[in-house]
Symmetry: C2
Subunit: 159 residues, 2 copies
C-alpha cells in the first residue's frame, strides 16, 4: 500500500476524531452543528498555516463559494473554539491574531520578521524549565507560549 494512502487514512481518522470531539462539545452546550461550523473546523485542520480570521474566511470562500460564509461567523466560531481550547491564538506585533488547531501537538513558534512565516518547534529542556519556574513563583501554570523572532534562512539569502 502506498504511503500516501496510508497518510490519507491516518489523517481521515484523526479528523473524524476531531470532528466528533467538536460535536460532543456542541451537544454538551446545547449548540447546533452547522455546515459553517464544520467547514471552519475542516479548513483549520487542513491548513498547515496559522490563519487569521480573514485568511480563514478567504480560504472558505474559495473552497465553498456557494456557502457565502460571513466573516462574523468565522469570528464567532473561532471564539467558541478558543473558549473550549480546541484552537489556540497567537498574537504578535502586527494587528490581529492568528489561530491554529490546539489538537495538534504542543510546540513553540519561531517567527520571521521579514516574511511573517512561522516555524514550529519544541524543546524539552525549555518545557521542563518553564514548569520549574512557575512552581518557584507560586504560579499554577495553565499554558505558555514562546516566540523567537528573527530572519529565516530564506530571507537571509534574499538580502
Amino acid at each position: 500500500m502506498p504511503d500516501i494512502t496510508t497518510d490519507f487514512n491516518a489523517r481521515t481518522v484523526e479528523y473524524k476524531q476531531l470532528l466528533s470531539d467538536f460535536k460532543s462539545l456542541l451537544k454538551k452546550n446545547n449548540l447546533k452543528f452547522t455546515i459553517q461550523r464544520e467547514v471552519i473546523l475542516e479548513t483549520l485542520y487542513n491548513s498547515d498555516e496559522h490563519l487569521t480570521p480573514e485568511s480563514l474566511h478567504h480560504l472558505i470562500q474559495e473552497k465553498y463559494p456557494d456557502l457565502k460564509t460571513g466573516i462574523a461567523t468565522v469570528y464567532r466560531t473561532l471564539a467558541l473554539l478558543e473558549d473550549s481550547s480546541m484552537v489556540t491564538s497567537l498574537s504578535f506585533g502586527a494587528q490581529g491574531k492568528k489561530y491554529e488547531l490546539g489538537a495538534k501537538n504542543h510546540h513553540d513558534h519561531m517567527i520571521c520578521t521579514e516574511c511573517g512565516n512561522i516555524t514550529e518547534f519544541v524543546d524539552e529542556q525549555i518545557e521542563e524549565r518553564q514548569h520549574k519556574i512557575a512552581d518557584e513563583l507560586g504560579f499554577k501554570m495553565s499554558d505558555h507560549s514562546m516566540q523567537i523572532y528573527g530572519v529565516c534562512k530564506k530571507c537571509q539569502t534574499k538580502q
Copy 2:
C-alpha cells in the same frame, strides 16, 4: 546614608542616561525634543507596570493635567520608541498591546489569567537553549518573548 536616598540617586542617574539616549536618538533623526515626548518617556520609566497606550495616557493626564497630551501623541511616541528599540511591546489574548521600557534588563513574563498582573523573570538555561534552537533552524535570531500563563499565588488564595 539611608537606602532610599541612594536608590533615588541611582534611579536619577539611570533616568538621565535614558533621557540622554533619547535625545541623541532624536537628534540623529532630525526630530525635536518636546515636553510631551519627555513626559511619555518619564512616565514609562516611573511605572513598574506594563502600560497600554490608554493607561499611559491616563497617567500623564493625571500627573500633568495642564499639558492636555493627546492620545495620538502617545501612540506616535510609542511607535517611535518601539522602532528604535527603546521600548518593547507585548501583545496577548485581549485587544491592544502593552508597552515597557526596553532599557531595563531582558526578562520574560508570567501572566496571571485571573487578575492580568504580570511578573517578570529570567532563566539563563532557557535563554541559552533559545539561541541554540534558532541556530539549528538557520534563523538569525533578533529577539524572543516568552509568556507563561497561569493563576498567581494571590488569585489562587482568593478562590
